[in-house]
């Protein structure tokens, strides 16, 4: 008769000669592992939710959360990196004569007004341009968010060479948008593209098997929130706490670097002093980004660009691809071959997938005085860009036809849907 403790059961099992019995009862470690696996499996099958659905405080978190909770369906969505974000929001600050909080300002106000003025079209324009956004991020945004009752009519996607050739990008899964957006849907179909490295792939597959591993960010967030509440009760900050996010960044620059607090980053109206300052030299940064071109990054991001165009087309969203202008001095960092491949590939793919294509770089409309550094347009440059865009749309019957589609969805229905999902920050 086998006794109750594993060691006793083990000797019994060993005498019984059954390897499985020996395996299960002969080791506390193996037993612990089996119990651990069972807990994970149980939690996964019960779809255990820890914490809430709050997205974290980052550029992408704020933008996504605002989009999800808004009752409005935008007609136009802007995608792109800071090449789009800076002129769009910088120009809005000038236009509205006030500083705009980067965590909250997600509408392209100037574009909406000038589009109405020049074309008569009423449009709501949402900005999903994010710092460092890659085509892989633009694809995830489109795939997971720009659909159903929130599907826009038109996407305007401003691209630059860095978007496809950033030497500092370890892999498509290394971006902050990936970290946040991968919580909103499955990337299984594109896992090999997002996760070319075996360790990243293993990390991803482990997350599918182990509940605690997959949701560890949510779980740790919930635990730290509880710990915060407890410690704030028993050890309150004297004088209410004067330590700001800026103070923290001085002390711990590498701690949550992608975090963005309300009131931390502003687009402000350009002053005369700003204009006098001239353009900022960020060539050293771009030398690192372009220095050794990684063609695997280029090809992967081009694939994502194609996937993004396909997804938009399948859903009936019209895409306007804009090759953003950059200064000649920045352009000269790239070899002619790299530049030509980038320009021709973007144009060819855009046109092959039925998108409209605008080559702002070769338009002759932009001078060096329209830039605030060697790649980013200044607010005035942003105004010029949007005026050019609106003029182009005005004469592009295809884009106009998409804007003219009367997709009347009740605002109240959207509000009800948002309320049901319970998403809020």
């Amino acid at each position: 008769m086998c006794e109750s403790t594993p060691s006793e059961m083990a000797s019994c099992a060993q005498s019984s000669g059954c390897p499985l019995t020996r395996l299960l009862t002969g080791s506390t470690a193996v037993l612990a592992l089996l119990v651990f696996l069972a807990i994970n499996f149980y939690a996964a099958t019960k779809n255990t939710q820890v914490g809430n659905n709050k997205l974290d405080k980052s550029w992408v978190g704020w933008a996504v959360n605002d989009f999800i909770t808004s009752a409005e369906r935008p007609n136009v969505v802007f995608l792109g990196s800071s090449l789009m974000l800076v002129p769009l929001s910088g120009n809005d600050a000038n236009y509205l004569h006030k500083k705009l909080d980067g965590s909250k300002h997600h509408h392209a106000q100037y574009f909406q007004d000038v589009l109405k003025k020049r074309t008569g079209y009423l449009a709501s324009a949402y900005t999903f341009a994010l710092p460092g956004e890659m085509p892989s991020d633009a694809f995830m945004l489109t795939n997971f968010l720009l659909k159903d009752e929130k599907q826009p009519d038109v996407i305007v996607y401003g691209v630059g060479p860095r978007d496809f050739m950033d030497n500092l990008l370890p892999s498509p899964s290394a971006t902050d948008p990936f970290r946040v957006l991968s919580q909103l849907g499955s990337i299984d179909d594109y896992a090999s593209l997002f996760l070319p490295d075996w360790q990243a792939r293993l990390d991803y597959e482990l997350g599918k098997v182990f509940y605690f591993y997959k949701d560890r960010e949510k779980i740790t967030g919930a635990l730290f929130t509880q710990a915060n509440n407890y410690i704030n009760k028993i050890l309150p900050a004297p004088g209410g706490g004067k330590f700001s996010i800026f103070d923290r960044r001085q002390l711990l620059p590498a701690y949550h670097p992608a975090e963005l607090e309300i009131g931390e980053a502003f687009f402000r109206p350009e002053t005369a002093a700003d204009k006098k300052r001239g353009i900022y030299d960020n060539l050293a940064e771009y030398r690192k980004r372009y220095k050794e071109l990684k063609w695997d990054t280029f090809l992967t991001q081009m694939q994502f660009f194609a996937n993004f165009l396909d997804t938009a087309k399948k859903r009936g969203i019209h895409v306007v691809v804009m090759a953003m202008p950059i200064t000649e001095v920045n352009r000269s960092l790239l070899s002619d071959r790299a530049w030509n491949i980038y320009m021709h590939s973007v144009k060819a793919l855009a046109q092959a997938k039925g998108a409209s294509y605008i080559n702002l770089h070769d338009s002759g409309a932009f001078q060096v005085t329209d830039f605030m550094d060697t790649v980013h347009l200044s607010p005035d440059g942003g105004k010029k860009m949007l005026d050019y865009l609106v003029e182009t749309i005005r004469s592009d019957s295809k884009t106009l036809s998409y804007l003219n589609q009367n997709k009347q969805i009740e605002t109240t229905t959207l509000a009800q849907t948002a309320k049901r999902k319970g998403n809020s920050l």
Binding site: A29, I39, S171, L202, I234, F243, R248, L251, A258
Partner: protein, 485 residues
């Protein structure tokens, strides 16, 4: 490949399975191959370094026994030790030497444009060079040679202890290789237990304390005197959990294959004096320094002053072994001074006839523990600070703490102002718990429930550790941070 990486999570079970399904004669070669894979996963070219040093020592050390005279033997062992030290010196201390030379010339107003030496420090070199030196000296002292190159190679490169020790003794390790061990589940149980505990210490305790430590040591001007004491206490525990955690994982990994490697830590912060501390902290290093530096210099056998000199030099060089920088040397010198002062203090107590009385007093014992802990913490400030300026800045502020405590208010504590990360205010709760835990564990060590807990408790603890470690496992994947406004 770090012990806390996904790579190791794949590597270790794979090697474990292959090891136990292999016939015994293939196990040591398998471990040797695995150890070289482990080492070369960092930088393949340095596999040649460890292989070259291994072969060199294996071929040269027998020449010690073949020397005809005692003088010949001494010359041979001195040559081999020198060759090992020169290799270590080139890789570890060349840049430091050049910097010291330049600073010295600057003092005399001599301008010298120092060469930029692009020497990458090979991982673990300090450990395996010390193991080679230990082997050479023990053979000189009459111990037997290792006949098998494979066994010797594994001794130097054994992956659990390769990067951060413990420093092994060949007479303890190599005989284990020839025992045709049968698989036992207790290898798995004990090994997994140690690995899980080690990971908990490193990832949960050490890494979280590191946040407060990093801020405090990088920006001491932002903190008050009491803050800096708390941050220094935090560092004392961070370095303990990091290092002892790593040792636990090393010992646990070795146990999975049925091998025992030395323990390295024995509750160092309940040491009653500095000498006791060094019997509890990095034990494999302190015994190595005793056996191959302190004793060969004469130890305590050549009079009081020579004893003090030997202690001082041993600790100074021990400090320098930790890193090629002035603040490590100063840390070692500090401990050397403390050890000398401790010897003098013991002599005074004996002269006064109070030694026995004091030793039997529990109040005196715990007061000694507290004083010793604070002396060690002061030493850690030198160890952790990036340079002497920061160390002095911190210590000069910390020494004002008694004055500041006289009119202490919570407002003086800047750590209470910082709410994210929450570790800052939490130090006031966590640090006392950690300090008391050392005492509690010491008390529990003699209890059977701690030595052989019931199986349900063992399983429960392991499950809890697995859950916690899974949740808190670090995301070490490289990140793309574009820019911050």
């Amino acid at each position: 490949m770090l012990f806390t990486s996904l790579q190791y999570l794949v590597f270790l079970p794979t090697v474990f399975l292959l090891y136990w399904i292999c016939p015994h004669r293939l196990r040591v070669p398998l471990l040797l191959v695995a150890s070289y894979v482990f080492y070369m996963s960092w930088r393949p070219i340095y596999g040649l370094l460890i292989a070259g040093l291994t072969l060199g020592n294996f071929l040269l050390v027998p020449l010690i026994t073949k020397a005809q005279t005692e003088k010949g033997k001494k010359w041979m062992v001195a040559l081999i030790v020198a060759a090992n030290l020169i290799t270590l010196g080139i890789f570890k201390y060349a840049t430091f030497t050049v910097t010291c030379l330049k600073d010295s010339l600057d003092l005399f107003g001599v301008a010298w444009r120092e060469p930029h030496l692009h020497i990458l420090l090979p991982l673990g070199i300090s450990f395996f060079v010390f193991e080679f030196i230990h082997y050479a000296v023990e053979v000189y002292r009459g111990k037997p040679l290792v006949k098998s190159l494979i066994d010797f190679s594994l001794f130097a490169s054994f992956f659990p202890t390769q990067i951060a020790g413990p420093i092994k003794r060949y007479m303890d390790f190599i005989p284990q290789l020839s025992i045709p061990a049968k698989f036992k589940w207790e290898f798995v149980d004990q090994g997994m237990n140690l690995i899980l505990m080690g990971l908990f210490k490193k990832l949960i305790l050490g890494d979280n304390l590191a946040l407060a430590v990093e801020a405090g040591f990088a920006h001491p001007a932002n903190f008050g005197s009491v803050d800096l004491w708390l941050i220094s206490y935090a560092y004392a525990f961070q370095i303990f959990f990091d290092f002892s955690g790593y040792t636990d994982i090393a010992r646990g990994s070795a146990l999975l294959f049925g091998y025992k490697v030395p323990i390295n830590f024995n509750l160092p912060y309940i040491a009653a004096n500095v000498s006791d501390f060094w019997h509890r902290w990095h034990i494999s290093l302190s015994t190595w320094l005793r056996d191959y530096l302190y004793i060969p210099m004469g130890g305590s056998r050549r009079g009081e002053w020579k004893n003090y000199r030997n202690l001082f030099i041993t600790m100074a060089l021990g400090g320098l072994w930790h890193g090629a920088a002035m603040h490590f040397l100063i840390w070692g010198v500090f401990h050397g001074i403390l050890l000398v002062l401790h010897k003098e203090y013991q002599k005074i107590c004996e002269k006064l006839g109070v030694a026995k009385t004091l030793l039997s007093s529990k109040v005196y014992h715990w007061a000694s523990v507290i004083v010793t802990f604070h002396l060690v913490v002061i030493g850690w400030v030198f160890f952790r600070a990036e340079n002497m300026n920061i160390a002095w800045q911190m210590l000069s502020k910390m020494f004002m703490a008694p004055v500041d405590l006289m009119h202490f208010t919570a407002n003086q504590l800047n750590i209470l102002q910082i709410r994210d990360p929450i570790i800052f205010p939490a130090l006031l709760i966590i640090l006392p718990i950690l300090m008391v835990s050392q005492v509690v564990i010491d008390w529990l060590n003699n209890k059977s429930i701690y030595q052989s807990p019931p199986w349900a408790l063992q399983v429960g603890v392991m499950v809890a550790l697995m859950c916690v470690l899974t949740v808190f496992s670090p995301d070490t994947s490289p990140k793309f941070i574009y820019f911050q406004f």
